[in-house]
Structures are given as structure tokens and as C-alpha cells.
């Protein structure tokens, strides 16, 4: 059993009057996929944005690889090996696909740091093909693409980085069935390699149970449920989220 890649202890965060996170404690180990579920507006994205250095927590502490870490900025978090697919995707519409794929990680020549456009295009093509998404051209501007195509680019961007911790905020929301399956297989592949920890946010509990090792439920700003995926079921999760809801009933 390997050590925790990240540990969150008692983290809280408010936006003015809105208390998004009250007291969050969770952890993920290397080679583990943690599923994070919860209602809309529960605070899942807020937690991810804290772990990725985009927001600063109001209270609590974060341990990265056992060391207390203040995630000052996205650059800082990334320098530690934390990669994110944001729910809003962080795409620049005016830039072509291959540059979005390499955003802030552009390849350059040495010693003169000019862009290696050809190589980036090539790599972009490869990355997207391996995800199995059909994108007309890697030089197309991202603003023209369909919702699922954009999401695929965002995922490819993070998955092909050498991250220690991968944060995925609803990566499959706009993905078709075929594409979802391919991406889930990709995550499984990453998991098998065993050198990465993953936190996955999703509203599709079937997918969560399929891919995740453990499931955490975020309610009222706290983690109210933490169980291995093998020991729970879609039905139980749905019951937890909403007692009135019954599976199967339309």
C-alpha cells in the first residue's frame, strides 16, 4: 500500500455570503482513483480549484506527498505535478487545437526558444487519435468545435502530462458513449501503471463505480461518505444523494 499523494485536512472556503466548503477532509493514494460525487453546487469544483492552486482555502491544510503545501498558484501546483481538467475547460477559443493542447506547455527549440509547431501538431494528432475523438483538423480554432470535441482536448491535455495527481472535473459530461468508453479505458490504463493518483468528479454513478477505487460524497460542505467502490452500488449512492429517488422509476 502506497502513501497518500494528497491529503486535505479541514479545508474551508466561502465566497462572500456563500459557504462553498465547510470542513473537507479527504486523501488519495498513488495508483488510486477517487470518485467525488455530490449535488450541483455542492462545492466539488471549488475543492478542485483549491487543490489546483487557483483558489486559496480560508482554513485547513493540505499535505502533498506527506509535506504541508501551500498551493500558491496554478503554476506552483503544476510544478508539483498536479494537473487538472477544469469544468469550464480553460480553452482559448481563438487558438488552434494543437496550441490549446499544449497551453502553457508549448514545445520550443533550443537554444533559440521558437515554437516547435510541427511537432506540437503531430503530438496533438496522436493524443487525440488515441482518445478516439474525431476532430477535423488540429489547426482548427477551438471556438468552432462541438462541446464534446472541446472536452476531449481538455482531457487529452491533462492525461498526457506527467502528473502525479490528476484532477478531472466532470470530464465526461459532454462526451458521447463511444468517446466516454475510450476515455474511461484510458484512465484505467493510467491506473494500471500505478504511478498516479486521480480524483474524478462525475454525475454518472455507473461510470464512477466502474472506474473508481473509492467514492467520496460531498454534502453541505463536508465529506459525508467514504467507501471502496466495490462495497457500494449505484443504487446506494442514489439513495444517499436523495432518499426520495428510486432507481428505475422514470
Amino acid at each position: 500500500m502506497t502513501a497518500d499523494v494528497i491529503r486535505v485536512e479541514g479545508v474551508s472556503k466561502s465566497f462572500g455570503p456563500v459557504d462553498a466548503l465547510a470542513d473537507i477532509t479527504l486523501h488519495v493514494r498513488r495508483g488510486e482513483v477517487l470518485g467525488l460525487i455530490g449535488d450541483n453546487g455542492a462545492g466539488k469544483s471549488t475543492l478542485i480549484k483549491i487543490l489546483t492552486g487557483y483558489h486559496q482555502p480560508d482554513g485547513g491544510r493540505i499535505l502533498f506527498e506527506g509535506e504541508p503545501a501551500t498551493l500558491k498558484s496554478v503554476v506552483h501546483a503544476r510544478s508539483l505535478g498536479i494537473e487538472t481538467v477544469f469544468q469550464d475547460l480553460a480553452m482559448v477559443d481563438d487558438l488552434p487545437v494543437y496550441l490549446n493542447l499544449h497551453l502553457n506547455r508549448e514545445l520550443t527549440h533550443r537554444p533559440i526558444p521558437f515554437l516547435r509547431r510541427r511537432e506540437m501538431k503531430h503530438r496533438a494528432r496522436e493524443a487525440l487519435d488515441s482518445i478516439g475523438i474525431d476532430i477535423p483538423s488540429v489547426t482548427a480554432e477551438v471556438g468552432m468545435l462541438s462541446g464534446g470535441q472541446r472536452q476531449a482536448i481538455a482531457i487529452a491535455r491533462s492525461v498526457y502530462s506527467k502528473a502525479k495527481l490528476l484532477l478531472l472535473d466532470e470530464p465526461l459530461a459532454a462526451m458521447g458513449a463511444k468517446e466516454s468508453a475510450l476515455i474511461l479505458r484510458l484512465l484505467q490504463e493510467l491506473k494500471r501503471r500505478g504511478d498516479i493518483a486521480i480524483i474524478l468528479i462525475a454525475h454518472n454513478y455507473g461510470q464512477v463505480i466502474d472506474i473508481c477505487d473509492r467514492v467520496n460524497l460531498l454534502q453541505h460542505g463536508e465529506i459525508t461518505f467514504d467507501r471502496p467502490a466495490a462495497e457500494t452500488s449505484v443504487a446506494e449512492l442514489l439513495d444517499l444523494v436523495n432518499a426520495e429517488y428510486h432507481l428505475g422509476e422514470p
Binding site: 469550464d88 487558438l95 497551453l103 520550443t108 521558437f114
Partner: protein, 324 residues
């Protein structure tokens, strides 16, 4: 077949339409004035174009990342007087020039820091800075022009010799276009303007990108001011100002830079400046009288843009038809 694919490639160049409009303007004036096509006149055009093109090379970067520098015109005014100030205080000329450029850079740095650290809109930050610099120039110069230094290799290189001002402009355009399109900084500038939140989420230091672009713009504006003053042989406190800034920004926008950020090219801005220069020169050449001048100028700008937009549409259609 190869010609066809060449043509196809050409239609994809963003700056094509504005280039065609510029050529059209050149043809128009060639037809209306015998004197238009002469080396002397080319030089006059180059003199119009150079300052706008140099400043625009910076403004394009700023506009792309969603900012604007209204004070650039006054940095243009200030730099020659800073040079003079250092020079009369005994610095060697080349050092005085360097000092003036450094001061210009610092002004941009201050603009950028106020903009990003205090989060004051760049329009107001640089408007305040513009007035401040204008006042400063008037105080330093006592509102009087002074003669530019003479008889030094520095003078010859920086505007004194024929065409040097324009060569600097061409250099600035090439360098900034390369920075914009061939470096990470250029991509980051585009990302910062295109999606500030997304860029920040990707870890791009958006504030630093902005500050650097403010500094670049100011540096170029200072350089342009020194070049022009040295060429004319006189440093004048009425030079530059809002007028020059305006034409630089107009060059950028005519050349296809979006005022709301995200996209634009330096070469386009250069072509925009060239178009404006040709129009200014051409109408003076054909003897449009002072009162009517602005009517003609305004109409020419509008006609040129209508032509430009039409060409863009045609180009896009042609490009896509070929591809299908």
C-alpha cells in the same frame, strides 16, 4: 497544380485583404499624381509610417492581451527630452539614449504594475499616466523645442541617416511578429486576451504577460520618439501625444487586431500604418486643401475598411470552396 495550391495558401494569409487594399490605395495615387512614385516620396511615406508602425508593434501585443496604452504617445514625446537631459548632464550620447529607453521601459512597467496589482482599468491607468507625462515633458522642456544632438554615429544610426528610422520600424515589426507567432510568450499573450480565466487556470502568469507587454509598448514608443526627433533634428514637446497613439492604435485595428483582445498580427498593423501613411501622403500630394483634408481622410478610411471587409469575405469563401 502547384500554382493552385500556392494561390490557396495565399488566400489563407490573414493580412492578404489589407495588403490588397494598401496596394489599391497605391494604384489610386499613382494614377492621380505623377509624383507619387518617386524615391523621395517613398521616403516621405516611410516617415509617416515609421512611428505609427513602431508603436503599433507594441500596441498590437497589448490589444491582443486585452489592454491598451493611451500614454504611449507621451512616452514618445518624453524620451527625446530624457535623452537631452542625460546628454546635457554629461553622459555620452549612446548612454543617454540607452537611459532614455530605460526610462520609457520603466514607464511601461509602472503602467503594467498599476494595472495588474491595483486592478485599475488600463484605459484610466494610462490616461492618468498620459497627462502626467505630458505635464512632465512641458516642465522639463519649458514647452520649448530643443535641437537634437548632431554629428555622432549614434545620431546617424538612430534616425539621422536617411531610411534608418524606417529600418528600425521594419526591424521592430519583424521582431515583434516573431515574438507573437513563434514564441511561448506570444501564445501566452493570445491566451491571456482570449480567455483570461482559462489562461490563468492553465497556469499562464497573465499578470506578468500584461506587465511585459506594457513595458514592450513603452520601450518601442520611446525608441520611436527618439528616432523621429533625431530625423527631424528637433525634439518638440508637441510631437507625439494622443494623436500619435491614436494612429498607432488605428493602424493595429485596421490591420485586423481586435480591440477586445484575443487576436491580431504585427504585420497587419504595419500594413495598417502603411495604408494610413499612403493616404496621408497621397492627399497632401494631390493638393487637398486644409479644410477639406479631414473629410477626404475620413472617407478614405471608411472606404478602405469596407473594401477590406469585402475582401476578407471573398477570401474566406474562396479558401473554403477550394478545400471542400
Amino acid at each position: 497544380m502547384s500554382l493552385r495550391s500556392l494561390l490557396l495558401g495565399v488566400t489563407r494569409v490573414k493580412e492578404l485583404s489589407i495588403l490588397l487594399v494598401t496596394i489599391a490605395a497605391g494604384i489610386y495615387f499613382t494614377a492621380t499624381s505623377d509624383a507619387f512614385n518617386s524615391l523621395d516620396n517613398y521616403q516621405t511615406i516611410a516617415q509617416y509610417v515609421a512611428p505609427w508602425a513602431i508603436i503599433a508593434a507594441g500596441q498590437v501585443m497589448l490589444l491582443i492581451c486585452g489592454e491598451i496604452d493611451l500614454s504611449a504617445g507621451f512616452v514618445f514625446t518624453l524620451a527625446p527630452f530624457m535623452l537631452t537631459l542625460f546628454f546635457v548632464n554629461g553622459w555620452p550620447l549612446w548612454l543617454a539614449l540607452l537611459g532614455a529607453i530605460v526610462v520609457s521601459t520603466l514607464v511601461g512597467l509602472v503602467n503594467g504594475l498599476i494595472r495588474t496589482l491595483l486592478n485599475i482599468p488600463s484605459f484610466i491607468t494610462t490616461l492618468g499616466m498620459a497627462f502626467l507625462l505630458q505635464g512632465l515633458v512641458l516642465i522639463i522642456s519649458n514647452a520649448r523645442p530643443v535641437g537634437a544632438p548632431k554629428d555622432s554615429w549614434v545620431v546617424d544610426v538612430f534616425g539621422g541617416s536617411r531610411w534608418t528610422e524606417f529600418l528600425w520600424a521594419a526591424g521592430a515589426v519583424v521582431v515583434m511578429q516573431v515574438v507573437l507567432s513563434a514564441t511561448r510568450f506570444g501564445v501566452h499573450t493570445q491566451a491571456t486576451g482570449g480567455n483570461p480565466v482559462g489562461a490563468a487556470e492553465s497556469g499562464i502568469p497573465v499578470n506578468r504577460v500584461k506587465v511585459v507587454n506594457f513595458a514592450i509598448t513603452s520601450t518601442l514608443a520611446g525608441l520611436a520618439g527618439i528616432l523621429q526627433g533625431t530625423r527631424v533634428g528637433s525634439y518638440d514637446p508637441t510631437n507625439g501625444g494622443f494623436t500619435t497613439m491614436f494612429f498607432a492604435v488605428a493602424s493595429a485595428v485596421i490591420g485586423g487586431t481586435a480591440l477586445l483582445g484575443g487576436s491580431g498580427t504585427v504585420v497587419g498593423a504595419f500594413l495598417g500604418a502603411l495604408l494610413l501613411g499612403i493616404v496621408f501622403d497621397g492627399f497632401n500630394l494631390t493638393g487637398v486643401s486644409a479644410n477639406a483634408f479631414n473629410v477626404v481622410l475620413g472617407a478614405a478610411i471608411l472606404v478602405a475598411m469596407v473594401l477590406n471587409v469585402t475582401l476578407i469575405v471573398v477570401r474566406k469563401r474562396a479558401g473554403s470552396r477550394e478545400l471542400t
